[in-house]
């Protein structure tokens, strides 16, 4: 029997994490580490199905309003962090009361969690948020291991949403003690506990000796002794370090050495379509994008497959619509736009621009975005479209987008939870203008109706039909230039075993069953 125990898993991340406090970990770097330290009620497996995590089983009432969770017993908070510093809670067991406190803490206006508003369908949310009540009405501990959540209206994606890392159970004593600094001293229930964080350099985690989960033979998990997340801002340097053997995994293999990676690591270069879409959004209230024909013309003028093949080594799926493959509601028979510069010209002429148009594309500074943008600029010329490029840092871009000043912008959207609501409703429903997600200011009454109804509908087939119809509307109206759907990747050293790619983004990979064969 192979000894699977031992070893430290070192991986490179492109950005330093901001905070290891689940209530504030809104970016992927932070989320990724939070997933190792904290745990949610449910999780999502590699096929996108909801599975049990800290909730052993759950029941949803017929009207879709009451969720009852039976909690797993024997789950303990971390007893120590850092250099053997004992935590305030001392390593005690998690009960339903902890979950009640956790939800309260997230929604608490003083916490000001960036993702609190995800929970606005919980009963009593508004009252508690405004300070009218002391407690959150909709989250109750029925007994020591039973948690009940009541909603104001049915929300089909609710259970999937609970897998999002913000909704992890946290120990009241430690959070209250550390206050603002909890993000630098995180205490959770996960397979790894926090050891050290050297700013801008690395985060070090060590094995949680008291972790509840066991493997099939009943051995304690995790197998790894610890994990190290090293911040390396530059993809070329990440590749270099990987080649030198200083890392077990990197997740972005940039195009220049993509083929080399495929050759050298044929079995440990994992790839699978990811639930994300890369698109250029157009502000439909600004000229010339207010004319549907112009928007359609742009969609006809781009050679998606060409860009993917030549610049991205074929590593993406050309996008016909909004929803990526693998997602519930994805329509494989959807008719998208073909590559037809002549048709594009015709449409422009019909729209009143026989001599073509001039537009400015804004995108955030990144090597891949730059490459694609330059190719796009070149291709548009064939259709008579002059494209000016403006790259800027993310902050300036979001500001411009939020204000509606960036009329033509790049955005890459990866789901927060694997449900089409997270795409169609958030990004294109007219209730979400501006920073809430709808930067294109797109408004279509039929589309709004479909997406609003699909939120509260409980029959999955009905929902599927609604979302597919909604998507067809959007594709025809073309508020976006649909470019491609992402691919999740991970390049591992050949001795890394039992790693599986997560369903919606590398940042929620779990490592409790990964082991190193060295």
């Amino acid at each position: 029997m192979k000894n699977k125990y031992g070893g430290t898993y070192r991986m490179a991340i492109i950005q330093s994490p901001l905070s290891l406090d689940p209530a504030h970990a809104a970016d992927t770097s932070s989320s990724r580490i939070v997933y190792q330290l904290f745990e949610t009620l449910v999780d999502v497996d590699s096929d996108g199905e909801v599975i049990s995590n800290l909730a052993k089983e759950w029941d949803i009432s017929d009207n879709g309003l009451v969720y009852t969770f039976k909690l797993r017993q024997g789950v303990k908070f971390h007893s120590a962090i850092g250099e053997g510093i004992i935590t305030e809670n001392g390593g005690r067991e998690v009960t339903a009361k902890d979950w009640v406190w956790t939800f309260k803490h997230i929604i608490d206006p003083d916490t000001n969690s960036e993702r609190a508003y995800f929970l606005d369908m919980i009963k009593g949310y508004a009252d508690y948020r405004e300070g009218e009540t002391e407690a959150l009405e909709g989250v109750v501990a029925k007994d020591e291991y039973t948690l009940e959540i009541v909603l104001d209206h049915p929300f089909a994606p609710f259970i999937t949403m609970l897998a999002y890392n913000t909704f992890s159970v946290i120990p009241r004593e430690d959070v209250e003690m550390w206050g603002q600094d909890f993000g630098f001293n995180p205490v959770g229930t996960g397979p790894f506990r926090f050891s050290e964080w050297i700013q801008d350099d690395r985060v070090v985690l060590t094995r949680n000796e008291d972790y509840w989960r066991k493997d099939e033979e009943g051995n304690s998990l995790p197998y790894l002794n610890g994990m190290e997340f090293r911040t390396i801002n530059d993809l070329t340097m990440q590749w270099t370090e990987f080649g030198l053997g200083n890392l077990e995994a990197i997740e972005s293999v940039d195009d220049p050495y993509y083929h080399e990676a495929l050759e050298k690591y044929p079995d440990s270069f994992l790839r699978k379509p990811q639930m994300g879409t890369y698109f250029y959004g157009m502000n439909v209230t600004a000229k010339p994008f207010d004319n549907k024909k112009v928007r359609q013309a742009i969609n006809y003028a781009i050679d998606r497959q060409g860009i993917i093949d030549r610049l991205r080594n074929g590593r993406a799926t050309p996008a016909k619509g909004v929803l990526p493959p693998g997602m519930f509601g994805y329509n494989p028979d959807l008719e998208g736009y073909t590559y037809d510069p002549q048709k594009a010209r015709k449409l422009l002429a019909e729209a009143g621009y026989p001599d073509g148009i001039e537009i400015t594309l804004q995108y955030n500074t990144d090597d891949i975005h730059k490459r694609i943008a330059e190719a796009f600029q070149q291709q548009m010329k064939d259709a008579g479209i002059e494209v000016k490029l403006r790259h800027m840092d993310g902050a300036a871009l979001f500001e411009a987008m939020g204000k509606g000043e960036a009329t033509f912008f790049r955005l890459g959207w990866v789901v927060d939870y694997p449900d089409p609501d997270n795409f169609l409703h958030v990004l294109l429903n007219s209730a979400n203008f501006g920073p809430l997600g709808n930067f294109t200011l797109y408004k279509n009454d039929e589309f709004d109706r479909l997406t609003n109804e699909a939120r509260v509908e409980s029959d999955p087939e009905e929902r599927r039909k609604m979302y597919q119809e909604a998507e067809k509307i959007v594709v025809e109206e073309a508020p976006w230039l649909f470019v491609y759907h992402y691919t999740t990747e991970q390049l591992l050293q050949p001795y890394v075993k039992d790693y599986s790619l997560p369903p919606f983004g590398e940042h929620n990979a779990i490592f409790y069953s990964v082991w190193l064969d060295k």
Binding site: Q199, D234, M237
Partner: protein, 314 residues
């Protein structure tokens, strides 16, 4: 001398106030809302508003300015917008690696530069002289990040002499390439200054006097010529160290070193005004202190220089 030092320190204060004023003005006209950024790609307006309140972004500028200086007196520079870590701590945690890099680079630059320059001056117009001066010119003209890239490809990837980039396990070997990259330019400058300084002095009267007094060649050279040539070198070392301590941004990015420079860039990109202010204050202070130290050291090298004279350093 204490009088001079005191006067200099006093003169520093209006400069620091000016620097901070410029930072405040700049950050106020900048596009990009730090609160908006903190919530990520999408966020609800209520949360963003509350964040702005918490960060004090809605207060009038002059009030923020006064509050900042009140904080400076109590050594409280506020907390980073992005990570909520106290600014002083954020800078202090990154300082050691920046300082180590700066010292290593400068030490390398001074030893190699002075030696090269000295030898070139003594063997003036020889092949060695021309060769080293050409090397020095190339050292000043080559872009440092380009050289750094080549060094990594050569020593890490091809030759495997250096195990990798970043801080690794903390051993000194990881500093070698960054120090070479960062120290190249100062080394070249110092070599040239040493050479010209020595050449200038070697021909002067008091050297001839020293020789005639019967001192050995060595004593003459090191005792007098080199010492005098050091004055412009000290200036370069001073300004160079001040710049490096502020963070060698390009080298830190290339070699993934978690120093002060990286902190600065991230702060700029994320509109983390708290960090930007704190860091600029820190760098300005280092600059003026280094200047003062450099000026105070001049008499060690040239006894003709005294204080109180209108020595154009200001």
């Amino acid at each position: 001398m204490t009088n001079y030092v005191f006067r200099r320190l006093l003169a520093v204060i209006p400069v620091i106030v000016g620097v901070i004023a410029v930072v405040f003005i700049l950050t106020s006209i900048v596009p990009g809302d730090p609160a908006r950024l903190m919530v990520g790609q999408r966020g609800d307006p209520a949360t963003i508003q509350k964040l702005r309140e918490d960060l004090g972004l809605n207060r009038p500028l002059w009030q923020q300015f006064i509050d900042f200086f009140k904080g400076v007196v109590t050594l409280d520079l506020g907390r980073s917008y992005r990570t909520r870590m106290p600014v002083i701590q954020a800078i202090a945690e990154r300082l050691p690696i920046t300082a180590r890099l700066a010292l290593a680079s400068m030490a390398l630059a001074v030893t190699s530069g002075v030696t090269l320059g000295m030898v070139a001056a003594l063997k003036q117009n020889s092949m060695l002289d021309y060769g080293s001066m050409i090397a020095a010119l190339i050292g000043i003209s080559a872009p440092s990040f380009w050289v750094g890239i080549m060094l990594v490809v050569l020593f890490c990837v091809q030759l495997r002499w250096i195990p990798g980039t970043g801080t690794g396990d903390g051993s000194w070997i990881y500093l070698v390439l960054p120090a070479l990259t960062l120290g190249m330019r100062p080394a070249a400058l110092i070599a040239r200054l040493t050479r010209s300084g020595m050449l200038e002095v070697l021909g002067q009267d008091y050297i001839r006097t020293a020789r005639s007094k019967g001192l050995t060649e060595k004593a003459v050279i090191i005792g007098h010529a080199l010492k005098n040539a050091m004055i412009p070198v000290i200036t370069v070392v001073g300004t160079g160290m001040a710049e490096m301590l502020g963070g060698a941004i390009v080298v830190e990015k290339l070699f993934s070193l978690p120093g002060v420079g990286r902190l600065g860039i991230e702060a700029i990109l994320n509109r983390d005004f708290a960090i930007i202010r704190g860091q600029v204050l820190f760098m300005a202070l280092i600059f003026v202190v280094t200047n003062l130290l450099v000026d105070l050291s001049y008499p060690l090298f040239d006894p003709r220089i005294k204080y109180g004279r209108t020595w154009r350093r200001e």
